[in-house]
């Protein structure tokens, strides 16, 4: 590996200061490092500086307040898995995050890192999109909020400028009639890349009909995609076998999957249908349970 500078600011202000020359001193942000360090060893990145954000208090926030779940950019997946309220209220996001890497990797890997790695198959992204999550981005002298949906623009590329970093991620906590679920398909139980991942959040009315829904599908296109056609197939309907069959059929047409070493396009389309059916069934069941 090449030589590089390592800095670990202890405040957002100090981080901003460092971001000022992040263009002249090519900088990569280091949180868990489970993607970045591997990629640097493989020669995919050779930054002149690593900016470690783990010592900044704001990036270590993990709480639920004012109807929002807040997850700091340096919070590792294992901490989220141990957060009972988050697991209870946002089971789809929590189960997606729990699938990142392996038991060992979870102790380092962060959700925001998973987002920034911008893999089409990132496990947390479809669940975060379905949950309506957004991120707080800071630059040397600016700040903005971006939705997770649309943040990745291509494999390995995001809307983040070279002199920006993410401080935290927020998502609205679902109300009592809303529930979520995420499933991915991999040949192995862990340490694997999703062939397809499906996240869904849906709201049922008193009669069990779908009042609102968000569905997103990963690994069927260069970035995870929202699936309005799946939502259209269930909106206003009871989540029964007929609705699930319509949704599964719609899911197969989402995106434009490729054939590669992890699966053929046809296989991916088929699995998108199977998972969509399973995820919607689980989310609907959870919503019914919550309403009781």
């Amino acid at each position: 590996m090449h030589a590089f500078q390592y800095v670990a600011p202890t405040s957002l202000a100090a981080a901003r200061e460092l971001l000022k020359d992040a263009i002249s001193v090519p900088t990569r942000v280091l949180a868990g490092g489970t993607d970045l360090l591997v990629q640097m060893r493989a020669g995919l990145h050779s930054p002149a500086r690593l900016l470690d954000i783990k010592k900044i208090p704001e990036t270590n926030v993990l709480c639920i307040e004012a109807g929002q779940a807040r997850i700091g950019a340096a919070v590792c997946a294992a901490r989220i898995g141990e957060h009972d309220a988050l697991r209870r209220l946002c089971p789809g996001v929590a189960e997606a995050i729990a699938l990142i890497g392996s038991v060992q990797v979870q102790g380092r890997a962060t959700v925001v890192g998973n987002l920034c790695n911008a893999s089409p198959a990132a496990d947390s992204v479809p669940a975060l999109m379905a949950a309506g999550a957004s991120i707080r981005v800071i630059g040397p002298d600016r700040e903005r909020w971006l939705p997770v949906a649309g943040f990745a623009v291509a494999p390995g590329r995001t809307l983040l400028a070279p002199d920006e970093l993410i401080v935290e991620l927020r998502l609205p906590v679902p109300d009592a009639h809303t529930a979520e679920a995420y499933q991915r398909f991999t040949p192995r139980a862990e340490m694997d890349i999703a062939v397809v991942g499906v996240g869904a959040r849906l709201t049922l009315d008193r009669d069990g009909c779908c009042r609102a829904a968000e569905v997103a599908i990963g690994a069927v296109a260069p970035t995870a995609l929202p699936a309005p056609e799946v939502v259209a197939a269930i909106l206003g309907a009871r989540i029964d076998e007929a609705a699930l069959t319509r949704a599964a059929a719609a899911a197969k047409s989402v995106g434009n999957p490729i054939s590669d070493k992890r699966g053929t396009a046809d296989f991916r389309r088929h699995i998108a249908g199977v998972l969509t059916r399973r995820v919607l069934r689980t989310a609907a069941e959870r919503a019914r349970q919550r309403s009781l």
Partner: protein, 757 residues
């Protein structure tokens, strides 16, 4: 049939002598060695699967500050001698040398073409980029069919097929044809009520040892080299390295590090001669450590295979005839495990009429290396699938059908001789009685049975047993400890000496400090090196009996050894009140009574006992995704006497886990140019712990008459049955007979919903 002898130590499961080192991180593996002034060596590898090397220009790389040595093929002697005895067997040293470093042709993607040593790996990487190699790309042959085609491009123009009636005039990619026949197969098929025939395939798979190849080499000005490396056999590294370099064996000292797995893949050499030459050129020690990608692209794997089997049986359930045609990829140089594949394919069954034909086929892929029961798993996948299908066609229970055809003591093995006592029938009977075989299955679940066999081998081993003055003893051998052999050696020494296991330390020596040992492989270490340890311990007992006799002033023949004590004959014990002298007392007084005790033994172990195993596998198949989950697994094996029970179980579980990986998801994925697309554990999917249930084991102990304690050998047999056990279970679950591995979700789904695959 089991061994009912009562032992004090053998058959227990104590903590291993190297346990503290391993769990505290103190154990030094191949890459842990650091020497002052050490350089880092890297290898430049061919970007083509098949290409003529027109020129190599290293001048720009040479000028980079910090680059201290560069070697290419021309720095190695031109080895002309072909087949050489290497202790274990004959190997083609010219092929070996050209696999270590390409000469005129690169024969696979990843083939070494040059190497550099520099003060840092970053500089070494830069130097690799600065080496200019001019290639003339050649068409590559990437599978058995295209390699055997009439007009196939040839890897080695001079190669002629061996094993044909006449030496062919033309070159070929088929290095050898082997045949075994017995009886009249045509008549056997004609007499059969049911005849079935299918062809099976398995992909290239890697041993997947967790520790990449690593070496540190130091070379003195007088060309005396010292090599630290992770290997299954330091003496074999010394022999092979000396052949490739054209040096005397005595000019190379090999010190084995701890080893993070080998499974056969570390019975050969890749880096050692290169590191020595770089060290010699630079005058500095050189470390070379492969990346995982290099391990996948340029070491190991085992053969991809195609196996066609035709089986005929009577309605009553007797196999009357078999025909097997096996084609194994050798990689870029001859020498797939086709011969053992052919010897094993029908070995579990007593069949009067058969014909077995095997082909050793060269392709532009890395040269295969030994992998746990080399050649047997692919053969067993085909045969055990067919036996399962035949039982199904005949409406017979698969274990009953196997019992009715199984070989037993006195049966003629397919490869010729009659079997001595073997445990196949015992294993099948245990399987039929096991609660697993009776347990009910859930929806989408199925159960498979399969049999496996491996010869196990003997070969050369040496042991020294040094008695210390505090009454402890140190066992020294040069058999690297891969699966807990130090503990097994100490157990056998304790049993033989009659002293406590805790009073024995077992260590692994180097090629100067220990006597000759062949590799830790072939399931031979507990059998053969164990035999040497037992003999060395007996030597000490003998010396102690003599010493006691001298102390007592009686004839040595009057002294007996029991429970770690020299005991005088009864008349002396009472009349002259001579108390027994125990091991510790004799050791303590050794300096005053004639010097310390050193036992030694060197032998070529004969009579390795064949190991049969039977595996039961339950799977659950997701009918919508094609995912196969192994939900219950039981491995039953005749191991002979189990010396350290927990490690015997560990070998059985580990072999089963590797075989399940081979069955379900492991495969080299190649692109059209012969470049492996998945050279990392992320996409080369070995099972992780969460993918497997606890693998239950049943140890059947049919003693091997050739070993003092009845040891057979354990490690290889358990990888043989799982491929078919899983496939047979999938058949039982979904009614589809899959003939091509791996049974990954897309493949399984394509059999269930042909439109979705």
């Amino acid at each position: 049939m089991t061994d009912d002898k009562v032992y004090r130590w053998i058959g227990s499961s104590p903590v291993r002598p190297d346990g503290i080192d391993k769990v505290t991180g103190h154990a030094a593996f191949g890459a842990d060695r650091l020497l002052p002034g050490m350089l880092h060596g890297l290898i430049l590898r061919s970007p083509h699967a098949h290409a003529r090397i027109l020129s190599i220009d290293t001048s720009a790389a040479d000028r980079i500050p910090g680059v201290l040595a560069i070697v290419t093929g021309t720095d190695f002697p031109d080895v002309t001698a072909a087949m050489e005895e290497t202790g274990e067997s004959q190997i083609d040293v010219r092929d070996l040398a050209r696999n270590v470093m390409a000469r005129d042709k690169a024969l696979y993607h990843g083939h070494a073409v040059a190497a550099v040593a520099a003060t840092t790996t970053t500089i070494a990487e830069e130097a690799l980029r600065a080496i200019k190699v001019e290639y003339e790309p050649l068409p590559a042959v990437l599978d058995i069919e295209s390699a055997m085609a009439e007009d196939a491009p040839l890897l080695h123009e001079e190669l002629r097929t061996k094993g044909l009636a006449e030496m062919p005039a033309r070159g070929s990619n088929v290095a050898a044809v082997v045949t075994y026949t017995r009886g009249d197969p045509e008549a056997g098929f004609a007499a059969s009520d049911v005849v079935i025939e299918r062809e099976f395939s398995t992909p290239t798979v890697h041993q997947g040892y967790i520790e990449p190849h690593a070496v540190v080499a130091e070379c003195r000005p007088d060309d005396q080299a010292t090599v630290w490396c992770c290997t299954q056999g330091p003496f074999v590294v010394r022999t092979l390295t000396s052949k490739v370099l054209g040096w005397d064996v005595s000019s190379i000292k090999v010190i084995p590090s701890e080893i993070g797995g080998g499974f056969g893949g570390k019975t050969t050499i890749y880096l050692e001669p290169v590191a020595i030459l770089l060290a010699r050129k630079s005058g500095r020690p050189v470390k070379m450590v492969m990346s995982r990608e290099e391990v996948f692209r340029a070491t190991g794997p085992t053969s991809a295979s195609r196996v066609r089997i035709k089986l005929g049986a009577s309605r009553a359930g007797k196999i009357l005839a078999a025909e097997a045609e096996l084609k194994y990829e050798a990689g870029a140089f001859k020498g797939s495990p086709i011969t053992p594949g052919c010897m094993c394919v029908l070995v579990a069954y007593d069949i009067d009429n058969f014909r077995i034909t095997g082909y050793d086929v060269l392709v532009n892929k890395p040269k295969v290396a030994a992998y746990r029961a080399p050649g047997a798993p692919m053969a067993a996948f085909a045969m055990e699938s067919m036996v399962d299908e035949m039982a199904h066609r005949l409406g017979l229970d698969p274990i009953r059908f196997r019992l009715d055809n199984a070989v037993r003591e006195g049966s003629k093995a397919a490869y010729g001789p009659k079997f001595p006592p073997i445990g196949l029938v015992s294993c099948l009977e245990q399987a039929a009685l096991h609660p697993h075989y009776q347990a009910p299955l859930g929806p989408n679940q199925g159960r498979g049975v399969a049999v496996g066999f491996w010869f196990n081998v003997g070969m050369q081993s040496t042991a020294t047993l040094n008695v210390q003055e505090d009454g402890t003893a140190t066992v020294v051998t040069a058999s690297p400890d891969i699966g807990g052999s130090r503990a097994s050696m100490a157990l056998m020494a304790a049993e033989t000496l009659g002293i406590a296991y805790e009073r024995i330390n077992a260590v692994v020596g180097d090629t100067e400090m220990a006597g000759y040992c062949d590799v830790t492989g072939g399931s031979r270490t507990t059998f053969a090196t164990g035999m040497a340890v037992i003999q060395a311990a007996r030597d000490v007992v003998d010396q102690m009996r003599r010493r006691a006799a001298k102390i007592w002033g009686i004839d040595p023949d009057q002294v007996t050894w029991r429970d770690g004590q020299a005991i005088p004959p009864a008349e002396h014990a009472t009349e002259q009140s001579l108390p027994p002298l125990d091991f510790a007392a004799l050791a303590k007084s050794a300096a005053k009574t004639g010097g310390s005790f050193v036992g030694r033994a060197s032998l070529t172990a004969q009579g390795a006992g064949a190991g049969f195993g039977v595996h039961l596998c339950d799977v659950q198949v997701d009918p919508e995704t094609g995912k196969v989950d192994v939900v219950r697994y039981t491995a039953i094996q005749d191991t002979g006497k189990a010396i350290h029970r927990a490690y015997v179980e560990g070998q059985m579980q580990g072999g089963a886990a590797q075989g399940i990986g081979w069955a379900l998801n492991e495969a080299y994925v190649y692109d059209a140019h012969g470049i492996m697309e998945n050279p990392a554990f992320l996409d080369y999917r070995m099972p992780v712990a969460l993918d497997l249930p606890l693998i239950d084991t049943v140890i059947v102990e049919v003693p091997n008459p050739a070993h003092p304690y009845g040891v057979r050998g354990v490690g290889e047999t358990p990888i043989v049955p799982p491929l078919a056990a899983v496939a047979n279970a999938v058949f039982d679950a979904v009614g589809v007979r899959y003939c091509d591995l791996p049974l990954n979700p897309p493949r399984v789904l394509s059999g269930l919903l042909p439109a979705a695959g």
